[in-house]
């Protein structure tokens, strides 16, 4: 996966790539690198197979735009909630049901800030980062439609 190289304490780390990531190790490493933080929130999105006929999920993105769109969102979250750090990992390419699609992690002195920043990041990643999901089902491929509630969720920030 490509990495922004990190910018030390307080920085946002963003990785977008087609390899799997280790949710446990990423969460533990992130938490261990947050001096001064009292609260760490991690979120992971998993490939769901509600109808039981999903072969795979394919994620397309706009490579030249993805990194900077996410970095801008993460930078805003960091500043707004005084985060000690935040992490965004998002996969692209083909994923199997049950696999982790992406994760965010946030850390702050108190839990309200860490939770709010993680939810903010998720709301923006859902609707403002250039990713598109296609489900490969037994009945054929289907582009995932944006949900009205995801767009509406942005209004709270």
């Amino acid at each position: 996966m490509a990495d922004d190289g990190g910018r030390g304490g307080g920085a946002a780390r963003v990785r977008v790539g087609d390899g799997a990531f280790d949710l446990g190790a990423e969460t533990a490493d992130f938490a261990a690198a947050q001096p001064g933080a009292g609260a760490v929130v991690a979120f992971a999105g998993l490939v769901r197979d509600e109808e039981g006929d999903l072969h795979a999920l394919e994620i397309e993105h706009f490579p030249e735009m993805t990194g900077k769109a996410i970095a801008a969102i993460a930078g805003e979250a960091g500043a707004r909630w005084g985060l000690t750090g935040c992490l965004v990992i998002h996969r692209v390419g083909r994923l199997a049901p049950g696999e982790a699609i992406m994760m965010v992690a946030t850390a702050a002195r108190h839990r309200a800030a860490a939770f709010a920043a993680a939810e903010f990041l998720m709301d923006y990643l859902k609707s403002r980062a250039p990713f598109w999901k296609k489900e490969l089902r037994r009945s054929g491929p289907v582009w995932v439609a944006a949900r009205a509630e995801d767009e509406a969720a942005l209004a709270r920030w």
Partner: protein, 83 residues
């Protein structure tokens, strides 16, 4: 002016290409869309309902009324479904 036009997700599939370069005098994204619609049946299908589309000018989200003066790239795609 020369504009790189890029397509993603089902817009790409309908157009049948992920990118093309066009020579245009369009002043806005909307004017460019009007020109692109006439290029092929695929383009016409892709742009049939612009309310279903999102656009980025030089890799920043923009509206269909955004001016194209100085722009090098315009991308069209459906609402994003990340996360």
């Amino acid at each position: 002016m020369r504009i790189d036009v890029r397509y993603f997700a089902w817009v790409r599939e309908r157009v049948g290409a992920s990118r093309e370069t066009v020579e245009t005098g369009a002043a806005t994204v909307a004017a460019l869309v009007a020109e692109l619609r006439g290029q092929s049946e695929g383009h016409a299908a892709a742009f049939a309902d612009v309310a279903a589309l999102r656009v980025a000018v030089d890799q920043a989200l923009a509206g269909f009324d955004a001016p194209l003066a100085g722009a090098r790239e315009v991308a069209f795609f459906p609402p994003m479904t990340g996360g």
